[in-house]
């Protein structure tokens, strides 16, 4: 498999501090890679840097061979990267329909349309006239996913889609993401919820102190509980 996303030697941080201290990570085309790690190790910083929302100090971010390090967020978005941000960040005063239409406004050519998003997540169709802040957490998450899909991305960045959701709702979100994986989407999934990560990811990467400390197939990582405990501090 060729690598869709290839990050090497990425260093980034905020106002003089270094959060990412030389991250090397690849996402093969058509694969879902889970990025795990404890709080504060730099997972979200990594996602923001890839998206162009944070300018890296040094290092390379290549999407299908094209250098994106240092590019502005809108340019990264137009190159084919879409983000489902942590905390959803839907447009609260706009309706579901308007949220999706905004995303569709700058969409790349591809299979995803507003109607197809409604087809994938019928709950959104029922709520299409409701405002973003009238939705439940799970519905907001679906909206954030739909918004990202409408960009027809080559690479989807999912930043903790389970964040703050009840287990049953996480299950619904997992079903949606599983269908997307079945369609062959390429994604980087940042997660704290190991069950969700294991269910969706082909490969697992663990971040520690701003670097990738482990990388391997999901099944292998799952079977070695001692290593998981050592890397993540969980059982």
């Amino acid at each position: 498999m060729t690598d869709l996303l290839a990050v090497s030697g990425l260093r980034a941080g905020y106002a003089g501090t270094t959060v990412l201290d030389g991250v090397d990570l690849t996402v093969p085309a058509g694969a879902v890679v889970a990025l795990l790690g404890r709080n504060g190790v730099g997972k979200t910083t990594f996602v923001h840097t890839v998206m162009g929302m944070l300018r890296p100090y040094s290092g390379s971010i290549r999407l299908d061979g094209r250098e994106l390090a240092g590019a502005a967020a809108h340019a990264v978005a137009r190159a084919g990267v879409a983000i489902v941000p942590q905390g959803r960040r839907v447009f609260a005063p706009l309706t579901v329909e308007e949220n999706l239409r905004i995303a569709a406004g700058r969409r790349r050519r591809g299979p995803w349309t507003v109607d197809r998003v409604y087809e994938l997540m019928p709950r959104l169709a029922e709520r299409r006239a409701n405002r973003g802040d009238q939705l439940s957490g799970g519905e907001q998450q679906m909206l954030a996913i739909g918004r990202a899909l409408l960009r027809n991305p080559r690479l989807l960045l999912l930043d903790e889609p389970s964040d703050g959701l009840a287990p049953a709702v996480v299950g619904q979100i997992a079903e949606v993401l599983e269908r997307l994986r079945g369609d062959g989407i390429s994604a980087l999934l940042v997660e704290q919820d190991l069950r969700l990560a294991f269910r969706l990811a082909d490969e697992v990467a663990v971040m520690r102190k701003g670097r990738i400390a482990h990388r391997g197939p999901t099944a292998e990582f799952r079977s070695d509980r001692d290593r998981a405990r050592a890397l993540l501090g969980v059982g």
């Binding site: 998206m51 162009g52 929302m53 502005a72 967020a73 809108h74 978005a77 137009r78 879409a82 983000i83 941000p85 960040r89 447009f91 609260a92 005063p93 706009l94 309706t95 308007e98 239409r101 905004i102 995303a103 406004g105 700058r106 969409r107 790349r108 029922e126 709520r127 299409r128 006239a129 409701n130 918004r147 960009r151």
Partner: protein, 330 residues
């Protein structure tokens, strides 16, 4: 009421049902008929007062387009309003009395002035943007106050009565109808823009600019675009103001005008477009008419109104209509 509310889940997909929409159309039609009929029943002074309200409402509309729709609170629109007013007056004095030509010239002048100054201002956000627009407003005011070619602090007088499509307008009522027609046209145009995909982009920028960038938009371009558009709208408002007053002075584009325009937006309910127009009428009414009955302390009354609005109806006059609609629904 409580029982009804707890009987949720509310029916989805019917937030904008046919009934409120139809009621809105009925109210809009009624208001339109009243506005058109006003000169037939009112005297010359109230009609000239209403003409000024309409012209000021166009300025306020441009402020709402920036402040309410796009989330860019501004004190600079009075400058473009003034540029439009001076342009219309100069065209009136030196070129033609045709109101449409004057309005078109004012539109172009407002657009160009906004483009020339806005590319700096739109790079800033929030309070810095507000201060930059204030600086633009004060600079233009200073220019009008000192530049002898436009009359300096004496203002620009001698503008002949406007004509429309070659016909002179014999009475105040006809100027009013002209101003009403142009203001209605501008309102419709701004409302269309606000509902268009571009308007959606603007509201997206207001709510979360970073998110818009991640969706592939370039907010800087959209912000500059709407700033130019608002400048053009304010310019037309200035032409309408000049058409009624036939005299333009630096006071027409000073800080007070900018502040009152922003105040009108807050009182009316920012982002709704029609609410701020109502606010504009209220503000001018208090300043110019009621003020005489309270010993010239109109500004004091406005201050009290402002405080009352902030505490009692945080979404302004437009918010009252919205909360009523919600009650009807649930």
């Amino acid at each position: 009421m409580t029982m009804l509310q707890t009987s949720a889940p509310a029916p989805t997909g019917t937030v904008r049902g046919p009934r409120p929409a139809r009621r809105g159309a009925v109210i809009a039609t009624a208001v339109g008929v009243l506005l058109v009929a006003a000169p037939l029943v009112l005297g010359a002074y109230p009609v000239s007062m209403m003409t000024r309200m309409l012209a000021f409402a166009v300025l306020v509309l441009s402020v709402d387009l920036l402040t309410g729709v796009t989330g860019m609170p501004t004190l600079g629109q009075a400058a473009y309003f003034g540029v439009g007013a001076y342009t219309a007056a100069l065209v009136g004095v030196h070129v033609t009395s045709d109101g449409a030509v004057q309005a078109a010239a004012a539109l172009a002048a407002g657009l160009v002035a906004a483009a020339a100054t806005g590319w700096v201002a739109v790079r800033a956000r929030g309070i810095v943007f507000l201060m930059l627009t204030l600086a633009i407003g004060e600079s233009v005011h200073q220019l009008a106050d000192t530049w002898s070619a436009v009359g300096g602090s004496n203002g620009l007088a001698g503008m002949p009565p406007i004509s429309v499509f070659g016909a002179a307008l014999p009475a105040a009522g006809f100027v009013y109808w002209w101003v009403l027609a142009v203001a209605a046209l501008v309102f419709a145009a701004v409302a269309l823009v606000a509902r268009s995909p571009y308007g959606r982009t603007l509201r997206g920028i207001r709510d979360n600019e970073a998110r818009m960038r991640a969706l592939g938009y370039r907010p800087a371009l959209a912000r500059f675009g709407v700033y130019c558009l608002a400048g053009a709208v304010a310019g037309v408002g200035g032409a309408l103001w000049a058409a009624q007053a036939r005299f333009v002075s630096p006071g027409d584009l000073g800080f007070e005008v900018a502040a009152l325009a922003l105040l009108s937006v807050v009182i009316g309910g920012s982002g709704s477009l029609w609410g701020p127009c109502l606010g504009a009428a209220l503000v001018l009414l208090v300043r110019d008419s009621l003020s005489a009955y309270v010993g010239g302390h109109g500004a004091l009354v406005l201050g009290v109104v402002f405080v009352a609005v902030v505490f009692l109806m945080p979404r302004g006059l437009a918010g009252l209509a919205r909360s009523r609609r919600k009650e009807v629904r649930s």
